[in-house]
Amino acid sequence: AAQADDVLVFAAASLKTALDQVATEWGGRTGRSVTVSYAGSSSLARQIEQGAPADLFISASVDWMDYLQSAELIRPETRIDLLGNSLVLIAHGRDAGRIDLEAGADLAGLLGDQRLAMALVESVPAGIYGKAALTSLGQWDAVKEKVAQTDNVRAALALVSSGEAPFGIVYASDAVAEDTVSVIAVFAQTSHVPIIYPAALTASSSAPDALLFLEALSGPAAADMFRAQGFRPLNGQGDG
């Protein structure tokens, strides 16, 4: 349970497992406590805009952090790119083989009359990245009619894991723990704008520990935990 001077973190929901571990570990080490509210980045950003008492915001999309920054609701000097992630193509089943998209594997052909599960390609980050990646591979036009878009990556994963869709595009971090799907291709980091989870203190942050926790997030212990969940720690390069 949370106290008034606890650190209250607003974080993208996909970070839950790793961030919970980091928070517990940090809390145990420092005797301080952190409370994390997980929701979609858009919700969290809007809440901060409306005066939410959050100290720290970790977004799954650069756009929402930019949005808050331009509204002067975060402290730009504390903003860092906390994590990166990579995008993978998954298939239903444990041991699906690998395909090579760069070499021109025909995704549309593989799909046949079935669906490719992705997050919303115009609005949810994973979907936007996925569309960009497919576009850069020249495959988008062929598959765009076959895309089943979900409101978040996890739902896309569910479609593949239940077999409704044979293939899907999700974050590597999502594919990690799911044993009913297998990763059949990894999209090159260059095929889309970098997948970045920025973090920053909010302008209204009042908890003195918030900055300490932000620092801990980019520390080595945290990095291990994030890595274990499929994220790529970025060692805190602020982009101002």
Binding site: G40, S42, A45, D63, W64, D66, Y67, R115, A117, L120, E122, S123, V124, V147, A148, Q149, T150, D151, A155, A156, A158, L159, S162, G163, E164
Partner: protein, 232 residues
């Protein structure tokens, strides 16, 4: 209208109307039957049925959507059967969106109709029986006309709910523009990107306008029926 809506938005509006309409119309007979059974009969498993009917109200929509996926998906027990036997496919089709909307709206519909049935004086049904009407006829000629305002209320409630349904729908049939992208899905998309509020608002207003229209229509219909019954 088509001017200030993109084709995708436009098709989302039409699809939502189609989905909600069919979800309401097709679930109405089942709603009436279940409401009648719950209101007037005692049977084994009654409370189980009652619980089942209310489940979509209780469960987070995502969970309902996921359960639908597991049962009515192509690989699901029922979904597979229906596809093989009748060629009826729900997954990634507007039919699936209608199914999700119907399931989500069902508890509301049943509740409204059930209350109406419970308000019918069984003495009138008895009177019909003495005149030779079998239970089915009694239902058709006495009970049903008397509960019509309740049925209309239930149907419109369901329609409104169906127009607003999002979580279960997108989880079950995802969001395929032109096929399963309903109004709420489109609204959700816009809300996910900074600056999309304006377009979201536009769509929301359309949804509200449609649902309110339906609501007023039902009020008017319900009152007309009630007045007919009151006999003036």
């Amino acid at each position: 209208m088509a001017d200030w809506l993109t084709p995708d938005q436009w098709s989302a509006v039409l699809l939502s109307l189609k989905v909600s309409f069919w979800a309401t119309v097709l679930s109405l007979p089942a709603g009436v039957a279940v409401a009648y059974a719950l209101a007037r009969h005692e049977f084994w498993g009654k409370q189980a049925l009652n619980g089942l009917v209310h489940l979509p109200l209780i469960l987070p929509p995502v969970v309902t959507g996921y359960l639908l996926l597991l049962t009515f998906g192509r690989r699901g027990a029922i979904g597979g059967f229906l596809e093989e036997s009748f060629g009826l496919v729900f997954a990634f089709r507007w039919t699936g969106a209608a199914l999700a909307a119907a399931v989500m709206a069902f508890p509301l519909m049943v509740r409204a109709i059930r209350l109406a049935i419970e308000a019918v004086d069984p003495k009138l049904e008895q009177a019909a029986a003495t005149l030779g009407a079998s239970p089915l006829w009694i239902f058709a000629t006495v009970t049903l006309p008397l509960i019509l305002p309740g049925v209309i209320a239930g149907a419109i409630l369901a329609f409104a709910k169906a127009m607003g349904e999002f979580g279960a729908t997108i989880t079950f049939v995802s969001n395929i523009p032109g096929q399963t992208q309903t109004l709420p899905s489109a609204v959700y998309s816009f809300l996910q990107v900074p600056g999309g509020d304006g377009q979201a608002l536009q769509l929301v207003l359309i949804a509200v306008a449609i649902a309110l229209l339906a609501l007023f229509l039902s009020e008017w219909l319900g009152r007309a029926v009630a007045r007919r019954i009151a006999g003036s």
